[in-house]
């Protein structure tokens, strides 16, 4: 279990993360979602013990994580910089990772490099943004760390490379279950892989639940304005738009089949609200 208690991260007078409490059972894939500047990277840095929280505690399997060698050996945090000297060559990066991590799988790393078509003799500085991200994926997956944290490890990768990343992530997780926490803005294409999602907004925890609960949690009701208004009365409205006499309202509510039938007989139509739409409504509504 990873336990965060009242965790805050501040930079001078800027508050990046504020009072976050989270219990994260191990062995699951988590998606961390949040808008730009919502505090994702600060939270992940604290989770990975790259940064001591300004206040609060983080415990991994009951142990204080910060500067704890036993916990750090089990933690792999991949961020966009790759935390390397730009003049290092890719094969040196991998060799170094192998020294650091008892669980490193060199054969798997080589297979992934091949998959992403990266020449190990290239210097980090000569890699494109997408190739750099792919090296991050290689470092993150081949480490097989019990706690693997991937912070937007897809920047610059094209659709084919991202699809390969997601495929490898799932297959390797199935073969070697571990805790994986990844932040992303590309919610739609990866949400099916997340067992749970964590949404933060302006440094605060907005939601932590099963991804599948979020899917189908909301509904869009469209029809004649008066009928829509009557039907949605009493439910939480996440968004609405009108065009002429037609109104479309997105609700934080899941009507049962009988209610849908009642609505349809009143001339209403019902549409789904996906994980990404739900995220947009939940984090965009208050701005």
């Amino acid at each position: 279990m990873i336990e965060l208690r009242d965790v805050s991260v501040r930079y001078g007078s800027t508050v990046a993360v504020e009072g976050i409490d989270l219990d994260l059972p191990t062995g699951k894939i988590y998606g961390l979602l949040g808008r730009n500047g919502s505090g994702k990277t600060s939270l992940l840095s604290a989770l990975a013990s790259f940064r001591r929280p300004s206040s609060g505690t983080i415990r991994v399997d009951g142990r204080d994580a910060f500067e704890n060698p036993a916990v750090m050996r089990q933690t792999c945090f991949i961020r966009d910089t790759l935390d390397t000297n730009e003049s290092d060559k890719v094969h040196a990066l991998l060799r170094f990772a192998g020294w650091m991590r008892p669980s490193w799988d060199a054969d798997y790393a080589a297979k992934l490099l091949d998959l992403f078509e990266i020449n190990p003799r290239k210097r980090a500085s000569s890699l494109s943004r997408g190739q750099k991200s792919a090296v991050g994926v290689v470092l993150g997956l081949a480490a097989r760390a019990p706690l693997t944290i991937l912070d937007e490890t897809y920047l610059g990768m094209d659709a084919v490379a991202r699809a390969a990343f997601y495929r490898e992530l799932l297959d390797d997780y199935l073969a070697h279950p571990r805790t994986i926490i990844m932040s992303t803005h590309l919610i739609e294409e990866v949400a099916d892989l997340f067992e749970r999602v964590i949404i933060i907004d302006r440094g605060r925890l907005l939601l932590h639940e099963e991804t599948d609960e979020l899917r189908g949690r909301g509904v869009t009701v469209t029809g004649p304005a008066a009928a829509v208004d009557q039907f949605v009365a009493g439910h939480t409205v996440l968004g609405e738009q009108s065009l002429g006499g037609v109104r479309a309202v997105t609700l934080d509510w899941r009507p049962d089949p009988a209610e849908v039938a009642r609505g349809e007989s009143a001339g209403l139509t019902f549409g789904p609200v996906g994980v990404q739409d739900m995220f947009i409504h939940l984090t965009g509504a208050t701005r």
Binding site: K28, L170, L174, L193, E195, D212, R215, P272
Partner: protein
Amino acid sequence: MAFDDRSPIYLQIADGIKNDVLSGALKEDEQVMSTNQYAAFYRINPATAAKGFAQLVDEGVLYKKRGIGMFVSPDAREKLRRERRERFFTEVVDPMLAEAKRIGIEVDEIVRHLGGAR
């Protein structure tokens, strides 16, 4: 099967397997995929797949053999047919009649059309 955003994936998994049982694509006492195989095949989280299978065990559509896997219950097809039959008129026929009314098709016309399907 492809999943959509209309409902939780675990319910869609359960519905998909029920359809396979009803159609006979999955036979009684036949072993179904493991949750890991299912997750790998459909590119979803294995916990989501497991929840779909657990739902089917709860409903008696599947049964578990410890250490071996999950199988289609001997009476699953008959039971699902009974359930679907009960819902057929409210979920299939009534909406059709409502649509017919909206666009001005008389019930007699529908009956004539159905007569041709006999």
